[in-house]
């Protein structure tokens, strides 16, 4: 059974009289423990697709199932869409985000940043601390736990963000240009880390415009004009 099923997804923006079709009928299935990269020129709809998969955005039309849960149902009158708070819970429990700009909270220590998803998930303090520490150890940052983001290098910041994405044992890890703000050496370190997460059994969806990074995945989806242009699975 597929982990993620997108069925006939449309995302249409109305800007004045002009109708912009960011997604124009997308169908994707992703299996558990797949490693998918999404490529495409800017404006092709790859970010919109990521936002819908990440439950940050809701489709104008179409159906979305994640981990056996119906998140959006394809119905004509547009009902069957999850509420903001329901989406928040799904984001909290099923999805781990890794952003291009890290998006760590600057006033908090690395440890506290990693704890955040657990705080919103209502995990008790002692367990929270233990799991956050374990996640930081997994990204080899145990010694930087009590540093704030501005005391860390770019690569270290992104590793904190990876730990934060992992800490809730999500169904999918979504990485949106995770190496976009890093030099090539650090990019390789981070990608090795993400490769490892895949080997450990995680499902990963990666948006990138760099071919060598996309090639690390075992499936590459090319998007163009709001549609899937190519979908290549490696053996």
């Amino acid at each position: 059974m597929s982990l993620l099923i997108l069925k006939n997804i449309f995302r249409i923006y109305q800007i004045g009289d002009i109708e912009v079709r960011a997604l124009n009928g997308v169908d994707v299935d992703v299996e558990r423990n797949e490693y998918v990269s999404i490529m495409g020129p800017s404006g092709s709809g790859k970010s919109t697709l990521m936002n819908i998969i990440g439950c940050l955005d809701t489709p104008t039309k179409g159906g979305y199932e994640l981990d056996g849960m119906v998140i959006h149902q394809e119905v004509k009158d547009g009902t069957g869409i999850a509420s903001d708070d329901q989406l928040a819970v799904i984001r909290n429990q099923k999805i781990g985000f890794i952003f291009q700009t890290f998006n760590l909270l600057p006033r908090m220590t690395a440890l506290h940043n990693v704890e955040l998803p657990l705080i919103y998930g209502g995990v008790p303090r002692a367990e929270r601390l233990e799991r956050a520490q374990a996640a930081l150890e997994q990204v080899q940052l145990a010694d930087r736990m009590h540093h704030k983001p501005n005391e860390l290098s770019g690569g270290q910041r992104q590793r904190v963000a990876v730990a934060r994405a992992l800490v809730n044992n999500p169904s999918i890890i979504l990485a949106d240009e995770p190496t976009g703000n890093l030099d090539s050496k650090t990019s390789h370190d981070i990608m090795d880390l993400i490769d490892n997460l895949h080997k450990e059994g995680n499902t990963i969806i990666l948006v990138t415009h760099e071919h060598d990074i996309a090639e690390r995945a075992n499936r590459v989806i090319h998007m163009l004009d709001g549609k899937i242009h190519e979908d290549n699975k490696k053996k």
């Binding site: 936002n51 708070d85 984001r91 998006n103 006033r107 955040l116 919103y120």
Partner: protein, 409 residues
Amino acid sequence: MDFKEIYLSARSSIRQNRLRSFLTLLGVVIGIFSIIGVMTAINVLQQTVEDNMGGLGAGTFQVQKYPNMNMGNTRWRYHNRKNLDYRDFKRLQERLVIVDYATAEDWNYGKILRYKDKETKPNIVVAGITHNWEFTNNLKIDMGRMITQLDEKNGSHVIVLGYDVLDVLFPNRNPIGEAIKIDGVKYRVIGVSERKGQQFGQSQDNRSYIPLTTYFKYYGQASFTSLNYCFTVVDQDQFEEGMQEVINELRIIRGDKFGEENSFETWTNASLIDNFNKMTAAIKIAAGIIASIALLASGIGIMNIMLVTVSERTREIGVRKSLGAKRRDILYQFMLEALILTEMGGVIGIAIGVLAGNIVALLLKISVVFPWDWAIIGIVVCSAIALIFGSYPAYKAASLDPIEALRYE
């Protein structure tokens, strides 16, 4: 999300912007300070007025020519009234049935008392009193005895001293039986009244008491000055009847015509406190208005600063939402931040207000008060401000679209 986390996050963001937070809560401080300061000062005065009445027991009331507390310059209205004199007092005393103790008194200020080569400062108050005065005025005797009916009848030259006199004229020795002089007239010391300490920064021990009849010989005839009459009804249930009895009898003695108002004033502790409260009510209302305006302004300041905070932290809100924060989590976070900010201002305002209000107490050397009721009202008002003015910014934060918020630069 537990409140400790929200609290820590709110506190760290307030600390991040120390100056801005301080300026914002200054408004709250001023508002709360003005109300607490005035209320504390009034409470101090009230406490003192009540303490000061300690002399007049619960079952006691006074009769005077002039009202005790006078709003406006209306003294002339009472000036033409006939003085309350000793002859009327004696006639009244004979007629009273319900009233247990009736006394009359007059005061003469700035006297010097001499014993051999020693003399006091010219600040001694000499009171001419009738017997039983210790009952109507709650006066306690430390040594010797009080003025008796016989002293009053004979116009004896006897005196009861306060401790201020004793400390100067008879340090560390028993004065009973010694002869002292006031204005060249000799008096025999028969008693010493209990030490009372200070009130309104004034010594209460500078009084000395002589029989009223003796007093008249040297300090004016009964017709020149108007006396204070003082009455005590021991049985509380009879107090109203006792007061009515005095009023009725005194009207007859003084020839007040039917339908005219009394040609004298009566007052009790309760009526005095009542008058005081009427006077302070106006001050309280003024303080309330000033504080309301200051608090309204500070509420707007808080709303403004919270809106700035929300827009500065749009991205943070986006990140929190992407990690699973619900609307409620964001709402609570910003509400609590507004609440902490205003409560900090409130607590500082209460502290400064109580200190400032008690400066009155320190100046008058009377006991310090802490107005618990107003402090609690202050905290409640601060919470209300935080809720009213913090809710819109917090609502705005909670309603942000996560994608827009994450893209915000």
